[in-house]
Amino acid sequence: MDGNMEHFTQTKSSARADAASAPIKVDCQNIDVYYGDKQAIEDISLQIEDRSVTAFIGPSGCGKSTFLRCMNRMNDTIESAKVTGKIFMDGANINDPSIDPVLLRSRVGMVFQKPNPFPKSIYDNIAYGPRIHGLASGKAEMDEVVENSLRKAGLWEEVKDRLPAPGTSLSGGQQQRLCIARAIAVSPEVILMDEPCSALDPIATAKIEELIDELRERYCIVIVTHSMQQAARVSQKTAFFHLGKLIEYGDTERIFTNPEHGRTQDYITGRFG
């Protein structure tokens, strides 16, 4: 997987974070992704800061989800997908064959576009992750983990009286927050969110955005979104993708006010995509 790539020396200046203030959590170097013969990601290098929100924007089909999935090796589950390049997380290359993707995913949680709670009770939805990773011993501890996760996801007040009810009985927005709580429950360091609000109404969206803002204090969050406003509202850094390439990456404020590239300008002003 990493044999044909050279070591982590070259990094493109445009992909560099403009202000190197916060520590780097994820350092992606020269990532290529192929689906069969088709190249979906071309040589992307990108550094993601800890305790901040990084937004991926770009037209549909440009490879945002594909790149996001590289960070918890979900592409491994797609038969035709092939990933090359190195991704360092706390100094270790997660694409190294010696890294167990299962352990990695307990450190890098993921929230999907469509809310996908397990067809189990609300309680079990949250408790499942901690249970398989052995994060709680005994019922009381598990109860605490469940409550904490639901609280962090801002769902506790709404569901505390109906924990045994099926997770699928919640509303769409609640389900998505349940999925966020489920991701939080395994105490990850990074949370990847792939268009978490695309199936939600503005009010539920606002709630989730608020939640993301709160979570930023503890986690490294990467969010894919099609909403420019959302990217501007919640993120500190923004990466613009186009046709499998990273066009521009920098402070959200700068990207939205003074983009370097014409394509970025065109996209955020709505002239294409």
Partner: protein, 533 residues
Amino acid sequence: MSSPTEGTANTGSFVTEEALQRLKKRHGAEARFKLYGQLAIGIAIVALVALLVSIFGQASSAFSRYVLSYDLNIEASYVDPDGTRDPEAIARNVSGFNLMLQDQLADEFLSDDANRNLRRELYGMFTRLAVLPIARATADAPETIGSEQIFNVALADDIDLFLKGGVSARKSIEIGTVAAGDGSTEDGVTLTLASQDAAEKLGAALTELTRTDVDDAPAVALIKAGNTWYRMEASEGRNLSLTYLAGPRALPSEGAAIEALILAQSQENRTVTDRQIAWTKILQTQGRIKSVLNTSLFTNSDSTYPELAGTAAAIVGSLLTMLVTALLAIPVGIFAAVYLEEFAPKNRLTSLIEVNINNLAAVPSIVFGLLGAAVFINFMGLPRSVPLVGGLVLGLLVLPTVIIASRAALTAVPPSIRTAALGVGASKTQSVFHHVLPLAAPGIMTGAIIGMARALGETAPLLLIGMVAFVAEVPDGPMDESTVLPVLIYKWSTGAERAWEPQTAAAIIVLLVFLILMNLIAIILRRRFERRW
């Protein structure tokens, strides 16, 4: 498109003539389709009802059976000649019990000088094995030896059939009283009817029942005067010449009521003799013939006598076979499906395997029988006719069905469940066993039960591995000779005697009940495991 000024102005500008036409066509098509659907369901229901009615109609006579309730003197000299009171010896002494029953019957119904033919006629009303339950009961309670006990003795199948209205078309009429009787019970009796009317009534009934399509097959009249039965040999005016059949040896006494039983067939052409009919009638008037639930259908094993044949051995054989089938087909099928669907790489080899599994599902079952005979019996040296081999063959037979159904159930689980599980750090195996399998369980179970139901009804492959053998004992285990329900049905349906017909229908019902039970279990299990997502 037409301009708003064209078409029907009063229905609004958007409802044009063409649109209305199209709408009418569409409604027509919908109505037609609905009709076709109802027609299809109607045909299916009619077919099902016809099947059930015919089976239940035929089987109804097999579920009850006529027995003679008989006061039997359990005499030690017959049943326990050695005086050991050993239950096993008593139970085994069937011929002793039989002899005892026959002698007591002869005492009651025959004169001492009765010849062998007469005796055979009497004994023929019961089957030799009718005493089996008596022997067992006596063995269980040896203290009853020497006392009088009332037993229900199963009547022979032909007598049973006669009582249920079979054997011969018949008619029972009353023809007045006796004016005079003459002659002797040995050489022939002459009876004079009290009125000409009665004679005409008798003659009319005889002509009515005489078959016109065959030459020289006149109907027969059995005459009961008082309590004695005679056969009418000839008649002339009011005079009937009769032969004594059964009952008190007496001449018809003046004033006694006469009853005639007209039978369309003479005794040469039927399985029950005139005398047996007379005895049956006498026993019936005495109230000693009873109709009882035919429990032997469920408690007995196969027999060469239809009245004693039961399904017990076949039921147990079927259960044991199904057990082996389930143990082979369900786990192997599910694991194969899970592996192919969730873990196997998608390459040439797996698609080849897939194609072959689909092909296997279409292989005629008899081929599996040949395979079983060749591999399990000839090559591996397993015994013939045992549920183990039958179950293995049927297991292989239904394996493709189980795999295909399980795979379909697994594919139906939304992929988002898998990614959700993987996303929180579950391994592939955990995501499959914790999330995918439980969701697919109802579908998998339905597939498995459909497969088992198919196996339960299979006959052809089992014939080839010898499960058609005559099995008179309930099998003890999967290595014991046995048969299964569908094979038993096949065997019974080929039986020559008429009595096998209802028996076969009854066995079919037992099989149907089995199937319904299995489906019921399937539904209950589904309800249990069903989850929404």
